[in-house]
């Protein structure tokens, strides 16, 4: 496994959810979402049924990728915060630990200043959580073995059966 890999176990997942839930509550946001830089949703809380979360994750990652390109043009390492203001809904996007994207969707029940403040606090917690996960993986690489077993068990027939169901 490459050192860039990250494995989240149930308790990591619960810890991340807890941070997101608290952020949503304290900032009075409607949705809080954690996405990796490739557009994959990691976790989300709030009124997620009302939105196409797959599209949201992919477009957010595209947006961040385009903004990273802009940063490079200007010689910046990254623009760590993006804000989109609409008539009713707003999106606050920030980069956490240089590897994941924290998305907060909020309406007029709250204020941008409050969202910014709570995002800063949550980002610090998320950064700590990801640091712990990375350190644990270095100590106990064997934890990934269940994934290795799953992948090793995939047969050619399993793959052929896809698309035919």
């Amino acid at each position: 496994m490459s050192p860039a890999d990250l494995v989240l176990f149930e308790e990591d997942f619960r810890a991340l959810h807890q941070i997101l839930r608290r952020l949503r509550h304290e900032s009075a946001a409607s949705v809080v979402l954690l996405v990796d830089k490739n557009g994959q949703r990691i976790a989300s809380v709030g009124d997620v049924e009302a939105l196409d979360m797959t599209a949201l994750a992919s477009l957010t990652a595209g947006n961040v990728a385009a903004t990273d390109g802009l940063a490079r043009v200007l010689g910046e390492r990254e623009f760590s915060v993006l804000l989109h203001e609409g008539e009713k809904e707003n999106i606050h996007v920030s980069i956490v630990a240089r590897r994941v994207i924290l998305v907060v969707i909020f309406g007029d029940r709250t204020a941008l200043g409050l969202v910014r403040l709570r995002v800063r606090q949550a980002a610090a917690e998320l950064e700590r959580a990801f640091k712990e996960i990375t350190e644990r993986m270095e100590r106990e690489p064997v934890l990934a073995s269940s994934i290795e077993t799953l992948l090793a068990e995939i047969t050619d027939e399993d793959i052929d059966r896809l698309f035919s169901e």
Binding site: V100, L150, L151, I159
Partner: protein
């Protein structure tokens, strides 16, 4: 980067359709979108210019069935083909698990196809990836056109590593699903070989 989610029992893979301008990358995704039941596909998102040229990317998530009890979802992306959108192509290639090179079979587009393959190699190398190591298939599109070069000649000019090659006419849908199955197979075989997705993975596996 493939993503195995043990909590929801899902495997996610990212596949990028690459190729020169107007070769039919977007058309491939449109056909897949039109011919897949709504329950197995998400929204087709196209970030295009007012005259319908891809500006940034198209995106289509597809469910292709269950693998060892894990629902397998493919996230399909196209890149903008026009030469001057190179920065966007690099951004979209990030974290890809597999690539479909869509070649335009017309003789007049041969040089553009060759240039697109070179550009792909260059952009992968900038991300420390070698085309030889990444799941890759070649689609020869627009086989219906009278100016199409013979498939063997295109293979000889464009093939880079004995990759699976599919003939297609995306406007009629011919060859589109075969190409997707081909790349999905390469991606999953690669995942089995490496036994480790390259990316972030929420997992509830017991320790």
């Amino acid at each position: 980067m493939a993503f195995v989610d043990f909590a929801s029992r899902e495997i996610h893979c990212k596949i990028v359709y690459y190729g020169p301008g107007l070769c039919g990358k977007t058309k491939n995704l449109q056909v897949l979108h039109e011919r897949t039941p709504p329950s197995r596909r998400g929204q087709l998102i196209s970030l295009a210019t007012p005259n319908e040229r891809t500006l940034f990317f198209d995106f289509l998530p597809l469910d292709v069935g269950s693998l060892r009890g894990f629902q397998t979802r493919l996230h399909l992306y196209t890149v903008p083909g026009q030469v001057f959108y190179d920065a966007a192509r690099r951004a979209i290639l990030r974290g890809t698990d597999g690539i479909v090179l869509v070649a335009d079979s017309q003789e007049a587009r041969l040089a553009a196809n060759v240039e697109s393959v070179r550009n792909l190699e260059k952009n992968l190398r900038e991300q420390d990836l070698e085309i030889a190591e990444i799941p890759y298939v070649l689609q020869l599109n627009k086989r219906d056109l009278p100016s199409a070069l013979p498939a063997d000649e295109l293979r000889r000019r464009l093939s880079i590593k004995d990759e699976p090659t599919f003939e297609a006419t995306a406007v009629t849908g011919a060859g589109v699903f075969e190409t997707l199955k081909g790349i999905a197979r390469e991606v999953l075989l690669d995942l089995r070989k490496r036994r480790a997705p390259r990316a972030l993975r929420p997992a509830s596996a017991a320790r």
